[in-house]
Amino acid sequence: MSHIKIELRKEDVDFIKGVCTSFNNDPQELINVLHSCQEHFGYLPAEIQEVVSEGLNVPVAKIYGVVTFYSFFTMTPRGLHPISICLGTACYVRGAEKVLDEFKKELGIQVGESTKDNKFSLSSLRCVGACGLAPVVLVGDKTYGRVAPDDVKNILREYE
């Protein structure tokens, strides 16, 4: 990545600084701060990390180190309808991988990518704890249980 220009709108800077203040600008609250920021912005681009760095007085390299460590944090915006396929063991043994393959095929994207129109993005996750419904697919906040590869087209159709 080349040089990053840190350009943000004032209200965004104020928001991030406000989050930091609400956690007493305590560097140990970094992960909670990042959660709040991701919840608000949807992702954690470099600019946001720079402001957090200033707010908590933590080197931005360390923040980047934390962001890239935890799979929950993302630096790329997700699609309008983020699709997550549970690959926990229960879902795996009930064929989640085939469901994932079907989504990849239908959307023409890989895990971690978004469709060109940014409508869908695809990710895998480990166990949402709904093992009784395995295999489980989440689209946004909506949960689909006992999904078979054949259901994939219908699920996607709901969002057209």
Binding site: M1, S2, H3, I4, K5, I6, E7, L8, R9, K10, V13, A46, E47, Q49, E50, V51, E54, P59, V60, A61, K62, I63, Y64, G65, T68, F69, S71
Partner: protein, 592 residues
């Protein structure tokens, strides 16, 4: 202190409580191999992530193998360091590490001085099973003005990260990613150039592999030497002469000034000069500035910023420009000796020998990697022609000498050329922590008091503690001196200056632990701080051996002022020998 009794490889030993197995074994002459562990005892620096798992040993009653670098001895412990289980584990782990490491040792800059290579050899690895199917973690290469990062070669010992964060508090590097793709990088994997890196080079100094190396300027220097139209002038920093010998098998602290001079001449440099000359000049400029600011301050002039901070260390200058830009009027405006030398060489000396500055190439031999960046700073050039063209490190010089089939050990000592090769003992000790301020005191005392200084050795300013202070009696005027080496220590003093609580009149800062002798361009200490100590001792010995030990007594400096500069801090001196600083802190731009 409580004593612990244990058995290692069937030998009994008593050690103080808190001793690690590795250290206890060393006492018994058992050297347990390790890759990630590193300790610079005298400097209080220790790196023990317990990540490489090479130093494992069997401890009776323990389920798994113990990493000896970070497992403390316990009473009655029975340790075995070379059972088949241990040896097999060590070899297998080493095979893992090597399976994710490039095999281009032939052209790796670290070849021959690489801890990983040495370890592979020591463990007798001849084959890496399954290599044909093994994926390797690869990253983008990054070349900055001083440092090259080739993280494919990173073994995640985390030494660089520890140096950059815990010791230097620069925070340019952090471990990033997770698992197989974990490595150490600046934020957003940007180039170092765009990070908060100060180019202090301490990451390079501790890197066990070729992941972090200096930018190699030897080929450029070679081209200049080969160009008959160029007059190539070389200057050598004081710390180089007490470390260069190590690259040729001499004991740390061996002084090789004369042999180095001979070698440089043999390499074809037209003039072999000494940065020490410029160090003496620095003392006059900086000392005068100190006295000026101090007396104005004492006379109640509130515009006179006190304390004055030394400015000869380029890593340190980068540090305050990036972290303390609000204090940029506090350091002395004097250029570093390297740049003073370049400025004088390409003006006074070029004139003297009748060479156009464009046809003169100034090369510096430095213990430092930040110097590479410093000489490329725009403000240190005239019409695009830099005052110092190339800066090469002690290590690069050694490699250059080896390339030229020169056996430094059999060379006869030679002297520097005149006039820019003459120096005093004061300039020699620039190379160690406390040296600059000691040299400054020798001159400032005599200038301020008008009296002859009886005791030249300010031992109270010497030592290896990270932050030191002393009060020097300037004939009734107590001058409070602060010294910090290592940027983390400097930060502490800077924080006090920023908050207005600093009691010091003058502060010396060196970016590298130990000062220039511990610089990022020096022969690698491989975690042995005795090396740094020996280099410091050698500098003080060289100082003592000099007939002249105060900068203002250097006759060629006196002559330089007479012929060219008039007097310290004159307008001309200001033009050539002083600089200004920039606010390089990252700023958040508000979008409208």
């Amino acid at each position: 202190m409580e004593t612990i009794k244990l058995t290692i490889d069937n030998k009994e030993i008593d050690v103080p409580k808190g001793t690690t197995i590795q250290k206890a074994a060393r006492e018994l002459g058992i050297e347990i191999p390790t890759l990630c562990y590193m300790e610079l005892h005298d400097l209080g620096i220790e790196n023990k992530p317990a990540g490489c798992r090479i130093c494992v040993a069997e401890v009776q009653g323990r389920r798994n193998l113990a990493p000896t670098c970070s497992t403390n001895c316990e009473n009655g412990m029975v340790v075995k360091t070379h059972t088949p289980r241990v040896l097999n584990a060590r070899r297998t782990v080493m095979e893992f590490i090597l399976s994710d490491h490039p095999k281009d040792c032939l052209i790796c800059p670290k070849s021959g001085d690489c801890e990983l290579q040495t370890m592979a050899h020591r463990l007798g690895i001849r084959d890496i099973p399954g290599q044909e199917f093994a994926a390797t973690s690869t990253y983008r290469k990054d070349t900055s003005p001083s440092i090259i990062r080739d993280l494919d070669k990173c073994i995640l010992c985390r030494r660089c990260e520890m140096m950059c964060n815990d010791v230097q508090t620069v925070g340019a590097l952090s471990a990033i990613n997770r698992g197989f793709m974990a490595t150490v990088a600046p934020a957003f994997e940007q180039n170092l150039e765009h990070s908060t890196c100060t180019y202090c080079g301490q990451c390079v100094a501790v890197c066990p592999t070729g992941a972090l190396t200096e930018v190699n300027h030897v080929p450029s220097v070679l081209r200049a030497l080969a160009d008959p139209t160029k007059t190539v002038v070389v200057q050598t920093a004081p710390a180089v002469r007490v470390a260069l010998g190590e690259e040729f098998g001499l004991a740390p602290g061996t002084i090789v000034t004369g042999k180095m001079t001979a070698a440089l001449r043999a390499l074809g440099f037209d003039y072999v000069f000494d940065t020490d000359f410029a160090a003496d000049l620095t003392i006059l400029e900086e000392g005068t500035e100190l006295l000026d600011r101090l007396s104005r301050h004492l006379n109640g002039d509130t515009t006179a910023r006190i304390p004055i901070l030394t400015s000869c260390c380029p890593g340190w200058v980068n540090f305050f420009e990036k972290y303390f830009p609000d204090l940029k009027d506090v350091p002395s405006t004097a250029k570093s000796p390297q740049q003073m030398f370049g400025a004088i060489a390409k003006s006074y000396f070029a004139e003297k020998i009748g060479v156009n500055r464009k046809d003169m190439v100034v090369v510096s031999i430095m213990p430092c990697l930040a110097k590479k960046y410093e000489c490329q700073r725009e403000e240190f050039s005239v019409d695009g022609n830099p005052d110092v063209d190339y800066s090469i490190s002690t290590r690069e010089l050694a490699a250059f000498i080896k390339q030229a089939n020169i056996d430094i050990k059999t060379l006869h000592d030679e002297d520097f050329d005149s006039p820019l090769g003459e120096s005093t003992g004061a300039s020699v000790i620039f190379g160690t922590t406390g040296g600059v301020i000691e040299a400054a005191c020798r001159t400032a005392y005599e200038v301020y008091t008008g009296k002859k200084l009886e005791r030249l050795d300010f031992t109270e300013l010497r030592g290896m503690e990270g932050v030191r202070s002393a009060t020097i009696d300037f004939n009734g005027l107590p001058v409070n001196i602060g010294i910090a080496h290592g940027l983390g220590n400097a930060r502490k003093l800077l924080d006090d200056v920023r908050s207005g609580t600093s009691q010091f009149h003058a502060i010396e800062v060196m970016a590298c632990p130990g000062g220039c002798i511990g610089g990022g361009g020096q022969p690698l200490h491989h975690g042995n701080s005795d090396v740094i100590r020996a280099r410091a001792a050698a500098l003080y010995a060289e100082d003592r051996s000099k007939p002249l030990r105060k900068s203002h007594e250097n006759p060629f400096i006196v002559k330089l002022y007479e012929e060219f500069l008039e007097k310290p801090n004159s307008e001309k001196a200001h033009h050539l020998l002083h600089t200004h600083y920039f606010d390089k802190q990252k700023k958040i731009i508000i979008k409208h």
